[in-house]
Point group: C2
Chain length 330, copies 2
C-alpha cells in the first residue's frame, strides 16, 4: 500500500522531513542542512532523512507515493529539471553572505529525487505556504490570493484563477527583489545593487537597522507600542513601502486576498492599519475589492508546506476536519 | 452546422465585429462605439453587428457557436458576470477625460451576450493580444510570456505556465497603473494621483509632452534618429522606466519572453537597445534568461484578438499554415 507521503522543508540552516499517512504525521526528522560534498549531497541527505523517517514510522520507503519539497530558492533548470541556485547554499555562485564549504553552482534536487521517488513536486517556501494556506488556512475558498512573508526577507506565492504561479524556473513572486523605484536618476547600468530593491528596505532587519542598528525588530515594535516617535516613523515608512509594493502586485495579478505571514507579521495588529490605510488609498478600480488576513498556519508551515503540494484531494477533507498537524511529533 | 465564430473588438471610438469559419474571415463590420441609451446599448449594438456580419456572409446567426470579445477595460463583476467599467465608455463613473452622453456605471457585457450566444469569452485588449501572439505570432511555443503594449497607454497580458492570467475581475496586468515609486515621501493618503504611475510617465503622450509638448511621439523618434540631444534624453528616460517596470514584471512572473506591441514599438529598433541594456543589467538570477521580441500581428490584432479566445484547436493548425487573416475583408 503506497499510502505515505514525504514532506521536505529545506532551509539555509535546517532540513526537516516528515512522513505522513491519511491519519496524520507519523514521523519527523530534522538535521542541519548539508553543505559539504558534491552537488548531490543535499538531495542525498534528503533521501536518507526520508528513509530514516520511514524507519521511525515503521514503514518501508516503497510505501512513499510522493515527495513534496518546500525550499529556499531561487531555482534554475538543467535538462528541464529544477535545481537550487540558492545563494545561502551554493558557494560556487559567489553570492553568499557567509563563506560556504562548497563550490556548488546548482543542486540537482529534482533529478536526484525523481530517480528515487515516483512523484516529486518542488516549490519555493512562499509558493508552498500559499498552497498550504489555501488548502488548510486563511485562503480556503479563494482562487485569487497572494501569500506574502514579511520576515528577514520578503517573498510571496500567488494563486491566479485557482492556479499556483510557477514561471519558467518556478521563480515567480520574488517580491522582495522588485525595484523600489522605476523612475530614478539611478540606472542598473551604474551597477545593479540589491539595496535598491524592496527587501533590503522594508524587511525585518531593515526596520531594526533604520531604528538604531542595535535593537532587534521586535524591540522596535515594542517601542512603537509605547509611543516612541522614532519607532513610529521607522515602522510607518516600512509599512508604506510594503503597502505600495502590494498595490503593484494587485495591479498585476488582480488578487482578492493577501495573506500575511512571517516574523514581522507577529506585529500585524500594529502594521495592519498602517498597511491597509496606504493600500486602500490607491486607485479604487484595482484595490477596492481586496482583503487582508493574517496567516493561519505560521507554526505549522514546516510540516504542511511541502505536504500540501502532493496531498491528494481524498485526504484534504479529512485533514481539514481533524487538523492532525496540531498533534504532529515535535 | 454551428461552424462560425464571431470576434468582437471594442474600443473607445470604434467597435468591429467579424464572422469567421474554418476557411477564414467571412465578413466584417465596423461602427462608432455606441455611448447612448441604457447600459445595455453597447451589448445590443454588438449583437446587432454580429447579426449584420452573419447576413453579409450569408449565414444564420444560429451558426455562430462562440463569441470572443477583446475590449478596453477595466472590468467589474455583477452576479458573477463580467461587465465594463471603462472610464472612456461609462459616463456615470466620473473618470472620463471627455464628457460622455450617458450615466453608465457598468456595461453588462457578459450577461447580455450570454443570453444570446451559447459560448462567450471576454478579455481585455492586452490579454487577447497575448493569446493571439501566442497562438499565431511571436509567442508560439512559449508557456511563460508577457505581451506589452506601449502606445497611448501601457498595458499587458501574461501567460504563466501556459495559462492566461485573468484574476478575480479579469483585470490582471494593468501594467501602466503600477506606481513609479514604492519608496517615496508621497503617500496615497495625500491623495492618490494617476500621474504617479508608470503610464502617464512613459507612454507615447508622455514622451511627446516631455519633449516640447507640441511634437507628436513619432516626431520625437525622428529627432532622436537625427541626433537631437533633447529627444535622446527624453526617449532614454522613458526606455529606462519601461525597462525597470519589466524587471518588476519578470521578478513577479518569471517569464521567458516579452512581446512588445503598440504604436511606440514602431520605433522598437531605437528602443530595443535602450530597454534591453537597462533590463539585463538588473539581478541576473531573474533577468538573464528573458528574451524580447517585437509583436508579429500588430495590424491583425483587431481581427485575431477576440477570435483567438474562442478558436478551437482543430482550426488553429490550419490557420497557422494559411494565415487567412492576411486576406480578410477590410
Amino acid at each position: 500500500m503506497k499510502d505515505y507521503l514525504a514532506a521536505v522543508d529545506v532551509g539555509g540552516t535546517k532540513v526537516s522531513v516528515s512522513v505522513s499517512n491519511r491519519e496524520g504525521i507519523a514521523a519527523k526528522r530534522r538535521e542541519p542542512t548539508c553543505k559539504q560534498g558534491d552537488e548531490t549531497a543535499l538531495p542525498m541527505q534528503i533521501d536518507s532523512m526520508i528513509r530514516g523517517a520511514c524507519n521511525d514510522a515503521g514503514v518501508s520507503v516503497d510505501d512513499v507515493s510522493a515527495v513534496g519539497v518546500s525550499t529556499c530558492s531561487p531555482f534554475d533548470r538543467r535538462a528541464g529539471r529544477l535545481g537550487l541556485t540558492a545563494p545561502n547554499l551554493c558557494g560556487g555562485l559567489g553570492w553568499s553572505p557567509v563563506p560556504l564549504p562548497n563550490d556548488w553552482e546548482f543542486i540537482p534536487l529534482e533529478s536526484e529525487l525523481a530517480a528515487r521517488y515516483a512523484s516529486v513536486s518542488i516549490g519555493n517556501d512562499c509558493a508552498t505556504a500559499a498552497v498550504a494556506e489555501r488548502t488548510f488556512g486563511a485562503g480556503r475558498g479563494f482562487d485569487d490570493l497572494v501569500y506574502v512573508t514579511w520576515s528577514t526577507g520578503i517573498g510571496a506565492g500567488a494563486f491566479v484563477d485557482g492556479r499556483l504561479l510557477g514561471g519558467k524556473h518556478s521563480n515567480a513572486m520574488h517580491l522582495g527583489h522588485i525595484p523600489l523605484h522605476i523612475d530614478t536618476e539611478e540606472s542598473y547600468l551604474d551597477g545593479w545593487r540589491e539595496a535598491t530593491n524592496l527587501e533590503p528596505n522594508a524587511a525585518g532587519p531593515a526596520i531594526a537597522r533604520a531604528y538604531d542598528g542595535s535593537s532587534n525588530t521586535r524591540e522596535v515594535f515594542r517601542r512603537y507600542r509605547s509611543g516612541d516617535e522614532r519607532a513610529r516613523s521607522v515602522v510607518t515608512r516600512a509599512a508604506k513601502q510594503f503597502a505600495r509594493a502590494l498595490v503593484t502586485v494587485t495591479t498585476l495579478l488582480d488578487n482578492r486576498l493577501f495573506i500575511i505571514g512571517g516574523s514581522v507579521s507577529n506585529d500585524w495588529d500594529v502594521l495592519e492599519p498602517l498597511v491597509s490605510r496606504e493600500f486602500y488609498a490607491a486607485n479604487p478600480f484595482f484595490v477596492q475589492d481586496v482583503e487582508f488576513r493574517k496567516c493561519a498556519l505560521e507554526n505549522y508551515l514546516g510540516d504542511l508546506a511541502g505536504l500540501s503540494l502532493v496531498m491528494p484531494e481524498s485526504w484534504i477533507h479529512e485533514w481539514r476536519e481533524r487538523k492532525p498537524w496540531e498533534r504532529a511529533p515535535g
